[in-house]
């Protein structure tokens, strides 16, 4: 078990998921260092290795649409920039509307998205049926479709980032847990890990589903709430389905990967207890299978190959928490990504890095700041689009 090489770092990042590693990448690119990343698990053991790989730009606020757009550009370049191919495939996101009321809500989102200049479309039932061959006619009266949304393989993103940051001199310690922070006069002075304590004036909490836990270890109460979400993959099939298909009502989502598997999930019927954080449940298998077969009856004869689960780091308004915590200077949040950390990672971490560098960023603290939940009941920015 190796210890950190130095006794002092400019930045210590807790969590080597896509958020922590991307933050490290942006810092290293700016020549800001030395940077240490610690993770108590193995690489990709968190949500970054357990997600559905969906990358969409259909959001309800202009700020999030812009973040997502920038991420799409980053993922388009990812294979060239990082030397590892995540097979980012822009084959669209299709939101299903089961009735006119839902279609109306989607139309509202469509207008915002289209207003940002994205080629969002409203589809009628027959065009939905063309995009999802074999769909039950009653499953959708229509929907919204954005063809430049897409899907990717999450693992290569993690490998590419890991290799890139290490080659730029970032130290990544795996199997090392951050136990807490050291501080003086409301200012962070160090981070305690299972491999010893290091001095630093900046610590990034990129601990994903455990970010609440780490904030608490730093003495900070936060609004983040980890929730368990399950997902399954079927036997590989010949390609027949291009877009990621989603339904807002129950959070059902599914797509067909490059390998041909149908991968997808659904919101749990009840809030999941955290005792079984990484476990699968029979109830999910049945609920997901039932929803999927109702939408696409031909899938009834397809075998489920495996199911697994991971944590969403949820916030009350469904948006991430980005920026320094005013209660403890030097303690920076990059968490609360819920089910959207892959699609928001490249752009939102670029802003976190810029904040650490002391630069101004185009994020409204009332929308993304750590203290926004203290300002009374937050607006639910993204209600219609909370998924699986």
């Amino acid at each position: 078990m190796s210890a950190p090489i130095r006794s002092e770092y400019r930045v210590v990042i807790v969590g080597a998921g896509v958020i922590g590693l991307y933050t490290a990448y942006h810092l290293a690119r700016a020549g800001f260092g030395p940077v240490l990343v610690v993770d108590r698990g193995f690489l990709s053991s968190g949500a970054s290795g357990r997600n559905g790989g969906g990358v969409r730009q259909q959001w309800e606020t202009r700020a999030t649409i812009r973040l997502a757009r920038e991420s799409v550009l980053a993922y388009r370049r990812f294979a060239r920039d990082f030397g590892v191919n995540p097979w980012f495939r822009q084959s669209g996101y299709l939101f299903l509307a089961e009735n006119e009321t839902e279609l109306e809500r989607l139309r509202h989102v469509h207008e915002i998205v289209a207003g940002e200049g994205l080629p969002s479309e409203i589809l009628d039932g027959s065009r939905v049926a063309r995009l999802v061959p074999g769909i039950t006619p009653t499953a959708a009266v229509g929907g919204t479709y954005l063809r430049t949304d897409g899907t990717l393989y999450p693992f290569p993103v993690v490998w590419g980032l890991y290799e890139a940051v290490r080659s730029m001199g970032v130290e990544v310690l795996l199997g090392a847990e951050a136990l807490g922070v050291r501080s003086a006069d409301g200012r962070l002075t160090g981070v305690a890990t299972t491999r010893g304590t290091v001095a630093t004036r900046t610590c990034v909490n990129a601990a994903g589903g455990w970010s609440r836990d780490f904030s608490e270890r730093a003495g900070l109460t936060v609004a983040n709430a980890p929730t368990r979400h399950e997902i399954l993959a079927t036997e590989p099939l010949k390609p027949f389905l291009d877009p990621m298909v989603v339904r807002a009502r129950d959070g059902l989502y599914f797509s067909q990967t490059m390998r041909g598997e149908i991968v997808g999930g659904i919101s749990p019927a009840t809030r999941q207890p955290l005792t079984s954080a990484m476990a699968s449940s029979p109830a999910f298998l049945a609920r997901m299978a039932s929803a999927l077969v109702r939408v696409l009856p031909s899938l009834a004869s397809v075998g489920v190959l495996r199911a697994w689960s991971g944590l969403y780091d949820d916030t009350p308004d469904g948006l991430p928490v980005l920026g320094e915590d005013p209660r403890l200077r030097g303690f920076v949040h990059a968490n609360g990504f819920g089910g959207h950390g892959m699609m928001l990672a490249p752009s939102s971490t670029a802003r976190v890095a810029r904040m650490i560098l002391g630069e101004r960023v185009d994020l409204d603290p009332a929308e993304f700041g750590p203290r926004r939940f203290d300002l009374g009941q937050p607006r639910r920015f993204t209600e219609a689009l909370q998924l699986g």
Binding site: A79, N85, W87, P236, M258, R259
Partner: protein, 532 residues
Amino acid sequence: MTNGRKGRRRLPILQRSIRYHRPRAPFCGIGYCTNCLVRTDQRLNVRACREGFPTEGIRSTSHAWPSPRHDLWGLLDLLFPRGIDTLRGFRRPAWAAPVYQRIVRSLAGYDTPERVAPPPVPRPPRVCSTDVLVIGSGTSGTAAVDELRTRGVDSVVVLDRDRAANDGAMPGRTTAIFLPPPIPRAAYPFRVLASEGSDRAVLVSSRRVIVATGGYDASLLFPGNDRPGVMTADGAFSFERAGLEPFRRAIAFGGGDRALEVVEKFGDRLIAVVAPGEIGPDLARAASDWAIPLYPRSLILGAGGRSRLRSIQIRARSFGPKQTLHADALVLAHRRIPHAQLFFQAGARMVWRSRIGGYLPAVDARGATSVPGLYAIGSGAGAVGPDASRESGRTAARALIEGAEPGVDLTPPASTEPFYEMQGYYRELLAEHEGFAKWIACPCEDILLRELRRASEAGYEGIEVIKRYTGLGTGLCQGRYCVPDAVLLLSIWEGRPPTEVGSITQRPPLVPTTLGQLAELEVPLSTPEASG
């Protein structure tokens, strides 16, 4: 099927491998590997071996074209002798990305659901509660059931993947696919999901569970290990039972009891017994009855023959002379791996047993695992031979009746056991190969040994990461045939014991289970007890 083997069907070539379209013949014979994947009118991805290799009613999947025997896509194997690197490749030029995606994607998958019409309507699920659930009705499971009955426990349900249960408590061919950790304090703390045949789900709630699922024969790494004609002992027995001719002249690989079974059954058709280590006295005696030459302490270096196995090259260990043996089959009987998945799923404490080179649940003398109410018997509890298996079944049954608490004196950590034989074997085998040409480390996904090696050299460590990095173990056999060997190799390359290389998470379902079947469980599973 009268007078012997004349005119019997040879092993059919029913599949091509998923990436390189290499010809594959039935291998495991017990419904796990992908080599006999076919389609029926009703179902996708059916294993022909589970249906007894019918001559009618099955069709090849649309994966190979025009047929698995003569597949034009097989050119891929020739065009890419060093494999296709989907992780680092296909990155340039940028404008070509959508083209690459379309091509690579069009090669994915075995079949399309539209090809089977109409989708079968699953039968309603079978739901029941019982005092004791016994999974597996082999030697130890049957002994446990008999003991339970003798002592007046009548509420017993038995599941078995192959056999009809001994008393009809549950029809046969029911595979337990998911044993989640028990729900504390529930009247029936275990809720076991199973799959009956291919169109019905089973949900058994039980107070106690005895797992007696035995083991299966492992695969072996060598260049050409996926060539038609290489099969496990499980496979050889199963093909013979189905009335096929598994081979004409075969080599058995293994030096212990399983190889002995192969010799007893196929002695007249064996031309050699090759073993990674010493050859046991019983096996030696049986082989000499048939005048079969023995090659103890030998490495399998490679296979000859293009579309079917024609020869095997061996070499005595510690740099002895090389030899070529001519045969049309290699029967693997060197390593039997316990089905430990259900124990992993249930959250039982597991220990690496180097005697067998696999993980077993930690158990006390009565078979109790670290999970209250969950018992392991038979080879899954480390019992060797039928007598010990029967005894372990009876002991666990008695312990269960007496309401024994989970044991405290669970099996000691494995570090006290000797080094596992196959590790030394592989160390020697790998020492003389460079680059590994196209060794197939994971046959379901066509993952090459060189991909593993490269991942390891790039600093990725542990089987969990290597699995995610290479895709090894993510195919239809759920990692049964690739992970055990991969763990040994990583242990060698990483220079640490197999326990530190780890194990992969045993995800449900244990065998692919149709969405239709699972969907039928929605109502029975939405009761509060299920949300544990």
